[in-house]
Every structure is written in C-alpha cells, then in structure tokens.
Amino acid sequence: MGADEQRVGADLHDLAAPAASGMKKIGHIAARDFLATVGTRGFIVGLLVVPASIALVISSSPRLFRPRDFQVQGQVAIVDPTGRVTAELRSTLDPRTIAERRRALARQAMAAVPDEMRQFGPNAGSDEAIQIALGGIPNLTLVERSPTADLQQEKQWLTEELTGEDALRPLALVVVRPDAVTPESGRSTYGAYSLYLAAKVGDRIENQIQQSVREAIVNARARALGLEPGSIDSMVRVDRVRSVTISKEGEQQTISAVSRALPFVFVVLLMIGVMMGGQSLLTTTIEEKSNRVIEVLLSAVSPLELMAGKILGQMGVSLAVLGVYVLLGIVVLLSFALVGLLDPWLVFYLVIFFVITHLVMGSLMVAVGSAVNDMHEAQSLVTPIIMLMVIPVMFAAPIARDPTSRFSIVMSFIPPFNTFAMLLRLASSVPPPWWQVWLSIGVGLVSVFAAVWFAAKVFRDWLVDVRQAAQPGNPHSLGESWQLKPECTREK
C-alpha cells in the first residue's frame, strides 16, 4: 500500500475511530453550511424563482407564442392536369372550410384533456381560443393555370414583385400529378402533387395549404369513385377516446398526457436539486478558501470531516428545495384531483437517486472548489461536470418513449447517468423489474464511493493554498500548481 493510500486510510480512520466526536463535528459543519445557505435572501429568492418562472411562462405563453394575428393574404396557383382537383381545392381553401377544419382539430385535442383541467380553460375549443392558438385564418385566392403550363415560367411567378396596393402576393404553386385522382392503368397506387413556395412563407401557411390540397385530392378521388366526400370523412373518422385504467383500487380515467410528463418532471427535479447543491458546494468551498477560514477549520477537523460536513449540509439544502417543489407538485395534483397518478414509491426512489447523484456530483464539485482559488478558475473545470448532468436530460426523451429498450436498460447501469435513466423508467408506464432498480442503486453506491475517494484526495491535497507554502519558487499558474501540489502535500 502506498503512502497516499495510507493517508486516505488515515482519513477514513479519522471518521471511524473517534466516531462520536468525528460524526458530531461533521454534523456541526453540515448544520452551519445548511443554515448559512438557507438563511440568505438569495436562497429564498432562488427557491421561489423556479416555480414563479414556471407559473409566469405558463400564464404568459399564450401571449408569448401567439401567432401574429394579422391575416395572411395571397395567391395559390394550381396546375391540374386531372381537371378534378382545382374545384375541390377552391372549396377546401375557403376560409369557412379552414375554420371548420380547425374546430374539428380543437375538438380532438380537447378530448384528451382531463375534466378537472377543463375548468381552468372554459373557453378552450372556442373560435377565440383557436384564433389565439393558431392565428388568423388566411385568405388564399386560388389561381388556375393551364394543365400544359410551362413549369419553369410558373415557378418564376413566385418571385414576382407586387405592383399595386391591392395586388395579392404569390405564395405557392401546386402541381398535381396526372395520376393523383385516378391511378395509371395497371397500378393501384395514386400519384401526389408538388408544392413550390415563395420565399418567406411561414410554416403555418404552408401547413394550411398542404392540408387543403390533401383534402382536395381525397375529395376528388372519392368523387371519381362515385362516393360522397362527406360520407367518406364520416366513415374514416373515429374520435379518440380516453382510456380507463383498471387497478385494484378501482377504475380511473387514464391521463396519458400527464403520465407522459411525469418522468420528465422527476428528472428535472433531480437535476435542479443536484445542480443547486453542487453549485452551492463549489461556491462555499471557494469562499472559505478566499476568506482564509479554511486553515482555521483544518485546525479543528480533518479534511475528510470538513468535506463530508459540507456535502451533507448542502444535501440538506437540496433536499429542502426538493421537498418544497414536491409539496407544490402534490398540491397542484390534489387541486386537479390527479394525485392518484403519483406513486409514493416514486418519491421514495426520487430521494434515493437524488442522494446518490448529489453525493457523486457534489463530491466532484467540492473537489473542483478545493483545487481552485476563484470562480474564474473554476469555470473551465465545472463545465464537464455540468455536461454530465445535461447529457441524461438529452437522453430523457428516448428513454421515456421506450423504457424497455436496450439503450434505456444499458443507461440504467452507467454512472452517473444511471440515476436519471432509472428514475425515468420508474416514472414511465412500464416500470423496470425490481432487481434492475436495486442493481442500479448498487452501481450508484459504488460510484459514490469512487467519487468521494477521488474528491477526498483532491480536497486533502489542494485545499491549503500550497503556492504560498511553496515560496520561494512560487508557481503562479494552475499547471505549475498541478505539478507541485500533489507532491508537496502528500504524506510520505
């Protein structure tokens, strides 16, 4: 066993041998760090900022994301060799038809909204609400072109400048394929159409045109078969219903939208808690170094006791934050009568995975804090650690979409992503088997041990500013310090 390992062993012995005294000191450090953090105005403001920001975004999003409410006007040209689509398109581009189509879309969307939530939007589905959500109905004038028109010349039309005040701007050119309504002989598949757009035509207008053309072609095909388009529409439309989940506790309407959001909510909660605690650990460690209070503390406690106390204190802070947010979430769910969605075991696992992630990330943060002398130096070292927390959020969507995929399972056992991945899977509609959960927790605990061991080494070796101890021959750069520090503070 090398000298360094002996030293770590000695550190651990400091914690273990005079256990009562050591643990008591760790408790005092944790309590001071906790109170020093939660007692500040900054913390209280920060605690309220996140829910306030979410409330602000929710309340202001209709206005923030409201499409421009002026009416889009313009011309849509059609080249229709079938001779059957033009009339249908004139009908489907009619503002009244567009309005009716949007109403049908709104009805479909509202069908998925739980009854309890509809009371918060009594006007949802109204023309006014649709107007806010989708913007004004465009006024599109159809311009018919010859079936044998020169395509290049027609494309050129889209680039023409407006000449008069009332002149309608060319927006789009629709070129229907000859087999779009009736398949070519010997074939059963239909042709489609080509769409050419003028510059700066928004997605919303393009969607309206595409929907109108699609509907026009379907209607033309139906008529070609001697069918009434309205009856075809009625025949193929089956309204989406809300499923009912049957459990031992009884029947409850399935609220898939909320269920789908739940895993993401838990991952965001985990990330906020860990980020808040980690950042705080970093800043308090740097602050104690710059306040020059660190050596005073080291006269009373060992470096490992100091580090353990700090990590536990900030974990308390993060748990308090997490507790507040979870309580707020429960209150919201209660008010929507959706609390049944929240499995208490999920909250239990949230706490378990939070503790694991905090210990890993917090250890890394405290290591960085002890290795640098100011926030400026810390920034470059902190970026990779923040990336470690951002990566699982990037993977959240594929894991939540398919929690039983090989990718999801593998991610559940790769630290430090495993806690995020497993929490996503636990909150999904297909929870993992219990042995996978506890194996992931085991892997997490191993990663905690490794992170704490690494952080303890860095914390112990770099905490005191050895650049001062090293004078003369005082190195100035972090690189020089890196070469110097481990050597000069290591017990031989």
Binding site: K25, R292, E295, S299, V301, A470, K492
Partner: protein
C-alpha cells in the same frame, strides 16, 4: 523531558525548493517558544507540518504525545498565518461554532463566548456580523477562536502581523496569560523584538535550516549585538582610533582579533560603517553571527542580525 512538540530530522520540499531541511525541534510542555526567521525561512511550512496540514517528506514528529496533530486537535489552538472568519456570520455564532468543532459541550458555550469577548474588550459584539468589525477586531476574534477552548498547546503563526501597537500589546498579554494558565506556546515571527519580549526560548530558522535554538537569556548574553569582532588588514593596533569613536565604548583584544563594545542604543550598522572607513577589513563579524568576506574590501553579513530596534536586517557594506 516531556515534549509538547518533537520534530526529528523533518525535511519538506516543494518541487525544486527545499522549504525545511533536517529540522530538529523540541518544545517542552509549558514552554514559551518563539520561532523566528525572515519571510520565506520555512516557519509556516514547519508549523503546517506540526499541525498535520502539510506532511514531511522525511523525519518524525510528535505533538502532545501523538504521532499526528489530528489525534490531538481538540487540545491544540492554532492561529494560522492565512486566517479569516466567515464574514456574514455573527461573532457569537462563529466562536460558538469553533467551540463545537473543538468538542466543547453546548451548555457552557454562551458564557464562554461572552467571557472571551470581554477578555479582548469586545463585549456586546456577539450579535454583530464579522464583516461589521474592523480588521483589527476581526484579528482579535480569530485569536479568540484559537484560545477559546483553553488548549494545552497554542501555535500562533505571525500573530502580531497587521496589528496596531495597542492591539499587539493586548495580544501579547493574552499569549502570556495563556502560558500562565499552563499552555505550551509556540509562535512564529520575523521580528526579534517580539520574541525577546515574550519568549523564554527562541528557535531561529533560515532557508529551511535551524541556525539557533537557545534560551533568550543565553542569546542576550552570547549574541549581544553591541559586540563586534574586527580584523583589520593593517596590522597596526587600531584600539586608540576605535576608542576615540563616539559609538565605541570599549575595545578588547580577543584571540588575535579586536572585540569592539558599542555604546548602548547605538545602531550597529551605522557604527560598522564608521569603523570600516579608516581600515580596510580583512574580516569582521558580529559576535555569534556569520560574517563572510567576499573580498578584502567588501563583506556582508550572511544571515539575520538582531538590531537595537528589534528588526531583522542584512548588512551590506
């Protein structure tokens, strides 16, 4: 002898620099030791090794009978050179926190904190935040944090730096009170006068090496800065001319050299300049100090020399 601090052959290097070299030190229990030397001599590094904040490359140490200060932290008071307080914390809370970290029971703390503050004339400041106090007051709080648990061993690294004369005197009295209570005291300074005033024993360190380890009384006897040893190139007797100088009280012939006793309160540096003008020296040294001639017509003192005003200085003539 029961040693509070025992260092045997301690060596510490930082990269290419050897900060402490083969340092031996014994501080007996109840001792009042001054650790002196110029800046960069290795005092702070030695103290940090005693405190188990740094670790020696080689050698052995023992603190209060333990192989590491960690095992006796609650019995040691330490005022580091790099010291500070939690700026946003209240004074009383900070001292209470330090007491708790030193393992004191909670029930005695409020009284202890109040009494401690009264000792340094800071009654009623316990509810103030540390950053509301002046720098001098903060230094007193830092000192209190080191002694509030009544340690058996008190280690102070440059305790008087940055203090005004009144505060320095107050701190000196507190150090003496702690020693009177029975604590072993080791403090570092680069100012000889402070060591002379407070300590019973002085250890001088220079460039990482111990160059002096004596009782103050012995040093005063042996290293009287008023005595100069003079070896002129000119073999004729300089006694009459030297005796005529106002700065010179007496000249004696000792071992082939001339020992010059300066008049009390004479600046040795100024006197040396007067002496060497008429005679080109072959070699000259202050008693007990290491003087070297780099050539016949120039010399300099290679090391630290105490002067009447207590400051350390190096002569170059």
């Amino acid at each position: 002898m029961d040693a509070a601090i025992l260092l045997k052959g301690i060596t510490k290097t930082f990269g290419e620099t050897t900060a402490v070299r083969e340092l031996d030190l014994v501080v007996p229990r109840g001792g009042l030791y001054g650790f002196i030397g110029p800046n960069g001599a290795g005092k702070t590094t030695s103290i940090r090794m005693i405190m188990s904040i740094l670790f020696p490359d080689s050698g052995e140490l023992s603190v209060l009978g333990h192989s590491s200060a960690r095992e006796a932290k609650d019995r040691i008071g330490y005022l580091p050179e790099e010291r500070g307080v939690y700026r946003k914390m209240r004074v009383g809370a900070f001292l209470t926190y330090m007491c708790r970290l030193k393992g004191l029971p909670d029930d005695s703390l409020p009284d202890r904190v109040k009494r401690s503050l009264a000792r340094v004339g800071l009654e009623g400041t316990d509810r103030k935040r540390c950053d509301e106090l002046s720098k001098g007051m903060q230094q007193k709080i830092q000192f209190l944090a080191a002694i509030i648990h009544e340690p058996d061993l008190l280690i102070l690294d440059e305790p008087f730096s940055g203090l005004d004369p009144v505060s320095a005197r107050q701190l000196r009295d507190l150090v003496l009170e702690e020693h009177g209570r029975g604590a072993t005291v080791l403090f570092s300074t680069h100012v000889m006068q402070q060591a002379e005033e407070i300590c019973h024993h002085v250890v001088m360190i220079h460039r990482g090496r111990k160059v002096l380890d004596e009782q103050v009384a012995t040093i005063r006897r042996r290293y009287d800065p008023r005595r100069l040893r003079f070896d002129p190139l000119d073999m004729s007797d300089p006694t009459p001319a030297l005796s005529a100088l106002a700065e010179v009280e007496r000249v004696n012939r000792v071992d082939g050299s001339y020992e010059i006793l300066l008049v009390d309160r004479t600046d040795p540096a100024a006197a040396i300049r007067r002496i060497v003008v008429p005679w080109r020296p072959r070699a000259s040294r202050s008693r007990g100090q290491s003087w070297k001639t780099s050539s016949y017509n120039s010399f300099r003192m290679d090391g630290w020399a105490p002067t009447n005003n207590g400051s350390a200085q190096t002569f170059t003539i």
